[in-house]
Amino acid sequence: MKTSSISIVFLLSGLLSYESVAQKKYTLSGTMKDSQTGEALIGATVYITSMRKGTTTNNYGFYSLTLPMQDSIAVVFSYLGYQPQIKKIYFNNNLELDIELVLNEDVLDEVVIEAQRSDENVQRAQMGVIDIPVTRISELPVILGETDILKVVQLLPGVQSGNEGTTGFFVRGGNTDQNLVQLDEATVYNPNHLFGLFSTFNSRALNNVTLIKGGFPAQYGGRLSSILDVTMKEGNNREVRGSGGIGLITSHLSLEGPLRKEKASFIVSGRRTYIDLLARPFTAKGNRSNYHFYDINAKLNWQAGANDKLYLSYFTGRDNAEYKETVGIFYKILFGNSTATLRWNHLFGQKLFLNTSVIYNQYDQNIETVQNNSFSQVFSGINNISAKTEFQYLPNLHHSIRFGAHYTNHEFLSKGKTEAQSSGNQSLNIGSIPSKYFDELAFYVNDEINISENVSTSLGIRAPAFISNKVEYFRIEPRATLKVSVTPTSSIKGSYTLMNQFLHLVPSSTASVPTNVWVPSSLRTKPQLSEQFALGYFNNFDQNKYEASIEFYYKTMDNQVLFPAGNQLVENFDVDTALVYGKGWSKGVEFFLRKNTGRLTGWISYTLSKTDQQFADLNFGQKFPFQYDRRHSVSLVGTYSLNKRWTLSSVFVYSSGNAFTLPVGRINVANGGSLFEGNYFIYEGKNNARLPSYHRLDFSATYKKRRKIFGKEYDSEWIFSFYNLYSRSNPYFVYLYVDHNENKPKAKQVSLLPIIPSVSYNFKF
């Protein structure tokens, strides 16, 4: 480990010194924004055609290129979905150039733009990264009229959903807790609303979404399997704009505009379900069944000076569900996230960019369940206060250096309780749950280095620490990726990453509701650790109209946690004391083919993977499949622009069934009428059986029209959609019961979502 760190430092210093003897250089820097709204364009490309070199904007739309002096250069500024701009620049001085790109649809109504797309996916050193253009998401089929970013993420290679109705997503064999989901840098611990139908992210309030599933740069840490980096819109800083929508169960409204033109702006966006209100007339008197969720996003930003910008973001979302069946079933599910982020951007000249943030986030989950007259309750609460500071230094074309520090103070509360009989008054006393406090601190440095025209690398090192009053953990995490261009449109990349995670979400394998519990690392529960190796081939065709990739990965995961056999949560016990520990392995290959432009856009992804776990205290110490191990996952996503008004889109997904534990045999213990007497189960292994495979076809048609009301024009949109078009009964969970007519056990599958037609109306003014 020490040797690798020293090597990185030597390599960095060597390359930097190489630059220092080169010819005189000047810097071109600035920001890239949307021409109408002033929104920062994240990941937009700046490309010098004559030198075949370029860069991309960071999360705040900032770019910087330092190049050798030339008489003039042609610079192409481009971003998917926008009209590219080509600028000829006399380059004999430092230059600041802010660019505003125009949305394709705003320029040409009738013509489908065939603008050349960036080949970033091939040229950048980083691998395992997928940018999700938020502007395109709205055209994909939706459930109940709600566009959903996490539903799109689940269609990407290497990413799997849980069963129907379960929350979260699973990346390269990792559990849901191994995904770091960030909204404006604040961690969102549960990014889903109930049953995973909708994510907590209201897509109308989002600017950009990036998924990283391997080859993690050093600025990211704290999770083993993926980073989902979500950036909220800043709000239109030129004019007041609004948008809204009315769906079958939700409505949403967004308002954005300048507080001070070109200097300060705001955006407020809210969404709420109202099915509880619609259903009220049809529910019997005294029926306690009830469900609603809401979420609110808000953001203010202020250009404090030429080099300073302040942002204040806020998000809150809550679910409140109660269900009582006449016999034996009761659910009460309350959970929610809230985040607030205050950020300050500062430019030190043209090459050094600083972002400093103070973040607060809160999550709580309280689930009470009665099933088979058994009672269970799980409570998890997390409060974090964080501070981050990051410098991005762009000294020349060969380096993009990020370094910084990240501190988080965590407060954790978790408790669970299971009782064999429901007595009606056995809820946990939430107020008496003791808090656990600990601190997380990390320093990092990462350099993206262009070694030659065809070879580039990203080298980084992160040093996280976990400090509580009982235990301290210090870790070193090397990160490395290497890209070698094979042809101008293809490259081979390899990566190695080591990640630590000081939080653990302990999954329950039995209950039909998500009774998972968050616990922090402790003396007994060691930090999760993963090492991931990945190798990929990336190729773009037809002037980047098509992009294709194949990635292989192998990942090991240490210090995984599960509940032991027979575990039931007891109020007086610390959850930490009831866990068993093991390892996990995941390997797979991911194919991805995406068509970016033209009337027909979309992608095909296929993942072949295998994930196993091994725990000394489970399954007789033998390896067993991970619960969400799915051998095959296929997604086909297509959007077709029929004409300027109608857009058709469709999604097909197929996944092999999840693993679950099924008894293979029965024995009858007949010991003379004792309490032992009865049928018992023989298990041959944990997760030895598979649920039926999951597949469904969704379809939607979108009709867009510009209309007038009170003499003012606005954009309108009708979306007609079918979720699960052929009404496949996909498994939510399976339970066993005895059929007394046939006198034998049977398995019964519970499915949630049949075909669901929906219509929704959106408007934008």
Binding site: F195, L278, S374, A420, G665, E677, Y680, F681, A747, S751
Partner: protein
């Protein structure tokens, strides 16, 4: 509208359910279930049966009895082949088959069990060396709570012997008639073949008590009983001292029962103590009996 509202109100409400056929990743391989507990002073009795594939219909014990098995018990070099036999279970009106024979089991002796059945052999051994324990007191309790919920039952106190790993299990011998119901799985079953006559039952406690971390102390154990009772019913109570393997086996059986009853408990694999089979070969030493008379009807 009504359909729509309910559809979305709560997905479970409209969740469809259907029977499905699920096969494990590997084909089912028949296993033998062996339950052999030796009691000093009693003739050895070994229950040997075939496990059923999980989704097969329920059958009577005679149908899964491993008929034709060769069951040999060896003590001090003397091997004896046990004979198939059965006993009538008047509560459920059925015959329970087993293999039995030979001299009564003796304290301090080692026994080797060898079973051959359908080309496979199974072997296990046990030594009866656990000490007999004395019950200090027995009291009635109208209510206590354990992992299964609230129960009525008896509270037993005994002095644990220090310096040993000890495991205890409750036993109650009594007479019942067909009016008495079983606490759990037999709740709906009434004996219809006893003509209303009383018949003997042996009620074995479900919980295995260990002296781990309370070695040598006075142990107080609240125990759920299997059958209903009436005021004045007289019973004989024993505590069984189990060997470690027997205790482990019945502990796992008990834990699995919890996981079957309670959907929030993780599945439990039975901790078999015999290689290649499911089951246990061990021993239990009975305490002296204590007369206990129920002071009231069950609540």
């Amino acid at each position: 509208m009504k359909y729509l509202a309910w559809t979305i109100l709560f997905l479970l409400a409209i969740s469809c359910q259907k029977d499905i056929e699920i096969k494990p990743d590997t084909a089912y391989e028949e296993q033998l279930f062996i339950e052999g507990i030796l009691y000093p002073g009693k003739v050895p009795r070994i229950y040997v049966s075939r496990a059923l594939p999980f989704f097969q219909p329920e059958v009577a014990p005679q149908e899964v009895f491993a008929r034709g098995a060769v069951v040999i018990l060896t003590n001090r070099g003397v091997a004896l082949t046990l004979q198939a036999d059965s006993v009538f279970d008047p509560f459920r009106c059925r015959w329970i088959p087993f293999y039995q024979g030979g001299a009564v089991a003796q304290q301090g002796e080692t026994y080797d069990l060898n079973i051959s059945y359908r080309g496979k052999s199974y072997a296990a051994s046990t030594t009866i060396n656990q000490a007999k324990v004395n019950i200090s007191s027995v009291e009635y309790t109208e209510e206590f709570f354990d992992v299964y919920g609230g129960h009525d039952g008896v509270v037993i106190q005994l002095q644990d012997k220090a310096g040993e790993e000890n495991y205890y299990r409750f036993q109650m011998n009594r007479m019942i008639d067909n009016d008495r119901l079983h606490a759990h799985t037999l709740g709906d079953v009434r004996s219809d073949c006893t003509n209303g006559n009383m018949f003997p039952i042996t009620d074995l406690g479900r919980t295995v008590f260990s002296d781990e971390n309370i070695d040598g102390q006075l142990l107080i154990m609240a125990i759920e009983v299997s059958f209903e009772y009436k005021e004045g019913d007289s019973t004989w109570i024993f505590m069984q001292s189990l060997d470690k393997r027997t205790a482990q086996f019945y502990k796992s059986v008990d834990s699995q029962l919890e996981s079957i009853f309670n959907p929030f408990v993780e599945p439990v694999f039975i901790d078999s103590q015999i290689d290649g089979a499911i089951g246990v070969f061990g021993s239990a030493v009975l305490s002296d009996s204590v007369l206990f008379i129920y002071p009231q009807d069950n609540p």
